[in-house]
């Protein structure tokens, strides 16, 4: 992996170092100095994948914002939704830091109204509607992270995708519990 590093990029990275990374990004990159310094060559493909992931996280943050602001969520569900949103914000910050570290340009967030339209937020009429939307998005995100793992050039990033998928799966499980939904009857139901 390091053999593919472009010298000029290496110099850039060595001067920027890890200063300024968020706590989440530091955690994400912990013990992975190769990841922090990876750039150039095939890593552009990995940046593309991370940017798609960042788009997912932007959407998730806004989906929870729409839910929290809807007035439909009651405590303690509202607290859990806000907590899950904070996880997605940590994912977002870590992805942005990693993309920038690799020399990429992070995709930007759309407006809340754009997300509301794309997610048909106007159709949400109850707490169960909000939780159902959140569960659907979390399940999709979990599968999305698992489904891009084979495409990463850097196995360390593939592991990061697995960690992100685990968070989304945890969210989906809690939301499914709150909705009284059945668990999958068969093993290996994610990411086939």
């Amino acid at each position: 992996m390091t053999a593919l590093i472009v010298p000029s990029r290496r110099n850039f990275l060595s001067t920027t170092g890890k200063a300024g990374l968020s706590a989440a990004a530091v955690a994400l990159l912990a013990g992975r100095p190769g990841l922090a310094d990876a750039a150039g060559g095939d890593m552009g493909k990995d940046v593309d994948i991370l940017n798609v992931a960042l788009g997912l996280e932007h959407e998730a943050i806004n989906a929870y914002q729409l839910g929290a602001g809807s007035g439909l969520l009651q405590k303690p569900v509202l607290d859990v939704a806000v907590l899950f949103q904070s996880h997605h914000k940590s994912h977002r910050d870590a992805l942005i830091a990693t993309i920038e570290k690799m020399g990429g340009k992070p995709v930007t967030e759309k407006s809340l109204d754009d997300y509301a339209k794309a997610l048909n937020a106007a159709s949400l009429k109850s707490q169960a509607d909000v939780l159902s939307l959140a569960a659907k998005l979390e399940l999709g995100a979990s599968n999305a992270y698992l489904g891009v793992i084979p495409s990463f050039k850097d196995p360390a990033l593939a592991q990061v995708a697995g960690r992100l998928a685990a968070d989304e799966t945890m969210h989906w499980t809690a939301l499914s519990s709150a909705l009284g939904r059945m668990l999958p009857a068969k093993a290996l139901s994610f990411g086939a």
Binding site: P76, L139, G140, N143, A144, A178, G180, A192
Partner: protein, 121 residues
């Protein structure tokens, strides 16, 4: 929020509506589409990925207003049984330079998703 608080909150929700074991896995059709593709796509709205309604017979990279990769926008592929199956198996092999990179490794799942997309209007 402390971890213990989260467990307490989730525990409350679980008590109100406990998880039940059962056959929740809809292995085909819409359920599978939503599980595998729903993270980024919807039928009737552009999200992280473009809308899928009417994808069969549509030229790749042709949904108006969606910001495709140059590779996809310039592709001459038309979506159908074969191209969608190959796309889901390994998008980079079909259109080098694309940005989806998501793979469905199970052939039966790919087939079921393509079958569903054929009906997505």
């Amino acid at each position: 929020m402390k971890p213990a608080s989260l467990f307490a909150l989730i525990g409350l929700a679980a008590l109100a509506a406990p998880i039940r074991a059962g056959d929740a896995g809809d292995a085909a059709g819409r359920g599978l589409y939503e599980a595998r593709c729903g993270g980024c796509h919807a039928l009737d709205a552009d999200r992280v990925g473009p809308r899928h309604a009417g994808v069969f017979g549509r030229k790749a990279g042709s949904v108006a207003g969606f910001a495709y990769s140059p590779a996809l926008a310039q592709s001459r592929i038309v979506w159908g049984d074969d191209t969608l199956e190959r796309w889901l198996r390994d998008p980079e092999a079909l259109i080098p330079g694309q940005r989806m990179n998501f793979r469905v490794s199970d052939p039966a799942e790919r087939r079921a998703i393509v079958d569903f997309l054929r009906t997505a209007r």
